[in-house]
Amino acid sequence: MDFRFDIIIDYMPLILRGTMLTIGISILSIILGSILGLGIGFGKMSSRWYIRWPFQSYINFFRGTPLFVQIFIVHFGVIPAIIGRTDPFIAAITALSLNSAAYTAEIYRAGIQSIDKGQREAAQSLGMTNVQAMRYVILPQAIKRMIPAFGNEFIVLIKDSSLVAVIAAQELMYWSQAMSGQYYRIWEPYLTAALVYFILTYSLSKLLNYIERRM
């Protein structure tokens, strides 16, 4: 089998540009998703069912339908309805953030509920408000337990971001497809893409292991 390194080198600038966009989309989406997920996670922990219900429905919808479908709905439906035109970059980040929020919400909830209820009671018995108990006692302990799950979600998100190539967001997968189309080659573009995704997720998991050990 001949393997044409020369076309990979030809495409390198675009591959790198796509990789930067993949990283950008992933980082923005995990940040926005984590912020949104925090609100949704707390909403789902409410003791009142009518507050819990919309948050639970949100989680059910985004976890129970394919991300692929969500990307189309956001790109062709939601974003045009809001800004009056399509925009692949905004749609990509919106879809990935909304999707990721459903998963991070569950990470927050599981992390917070894993903390012994005696911790909250001790804080309350000292006169702390619920917010103070959460901020100084529960969250600092819960976050440490959430790190592995967050790392996992971040890795999933990097890989899933390849799906936004279908709405022409010009990230790594988009340029790999372009390369494949231009040269009628399969192995070079897609093995390159696979290798880059692997380097991204592998270094991220190493980084997270390091952070976890240090905490």
Partner: protein, 243 residues
């Protein structure tokens, strides 16, 4: 004289199970009240109602005349006046001993860091753990952890201290060090409500003993009287098992 805590016809149930029925009690300033009774009789629930960790359904609880059931009462502020020590210590594992003690004075009382720190060190000296200030709770023995928990509650300068079986989770050789701290506290005039199975402590330190069974107060009185001459058959039967 105004009682520190006054409980009137307090009732509480979990679902269909009635755990407390029509409890009446008054805790006077500087009094040490010991609550005894079989497991499941509602002792913990009673204690937890006193700072609203459990919300009673009927009846009233007042701290220095202010009702906890009153809609205008700020429950969070009232809790700051009532110290609580738990069977499982419930120290904050992510904070050093010193920070465990200063957290609430800093955040709730808004004390200056110097003042909170000085108070914490004074209390650590008092419970004999000055050298543990910069350790994490995980490195303490059970007896040490419980003494830190007592110091943490005292740092808020509460009007009354509640103890829920403070020595039940300890290895036998550590029970003494915690009881000694509590005895010192009683001698200094702290108002205390103590749920315990340590009958020696009840007899020596208690001003009054309350015997609970099945969610009611069966009998109460000075320890000498209750232990040597119980009036109720149920009290006699319980005491014959534990003494």
């Amino acid at each position: 004289m105004q009682p520190i805590i006054e409980v009137k016809k307090l009732s509480k149930s979990f679902g269909s199970v009635t755990v407390l029925s029509e409890i009446d009690a008054r805790i006077m300033p500087q009094e040490v009240v010991v609550v005894i009774g079989p497991s499941g009789s509602g002792k913990s629930t009673f204690l937890r109602c006193l700072n609203l960790l459990e919300v009673p359904e009927h009846g009233d609880i007042s701290i220095e005349g202010q009702s906890l059931m009153d809609k205008n009462t700020n429950i969070t502020e009232m809790r700051a006046e009532v110290g609580m020590v738990f069977q499982q210590f419930n120290l904050f594992p992510h904070m050093k001993v010193l920070d465990n003690i200063t957290l609430a004075p800093l955040r709730v009382r808004k004390w200056a860091p110097d003042k909170a720190r000085a108070k914490a060190m004074e209390l650590l000296r008092k419970v004999g753990l000055e050298d543990k200030a910069n350790m994490y709770p995980a490195s303490l023995s059970g007896g040490q952890a419980q003494r830190v928990a007592i110091a943490r509650a005292l740092a808020m300068e509460p009007k009354v201290m509640l103890f829920d079986e403070p020595t039940s989770a300890l290895d036998p050789e550590m029970v003494g060090e915690v009881l000694t701290v509590m005895q010192d506290l009683a001698r200094e005039g702290m108002t205390m409500v103590v749920v315990t199975h340590e009958m020696g402590f009840a007899r020596e330190v208690g001003d009054r003993v309350i015997f609970m069974e099945g969610g009611s107060i069966v009998e109460e009185g000075p320890p000498d009287q209750l232990f040597s001459n119980p009036q109720q058959e149920r009290t006699r039967s319980f005491l014959s098992k534990v003494l």
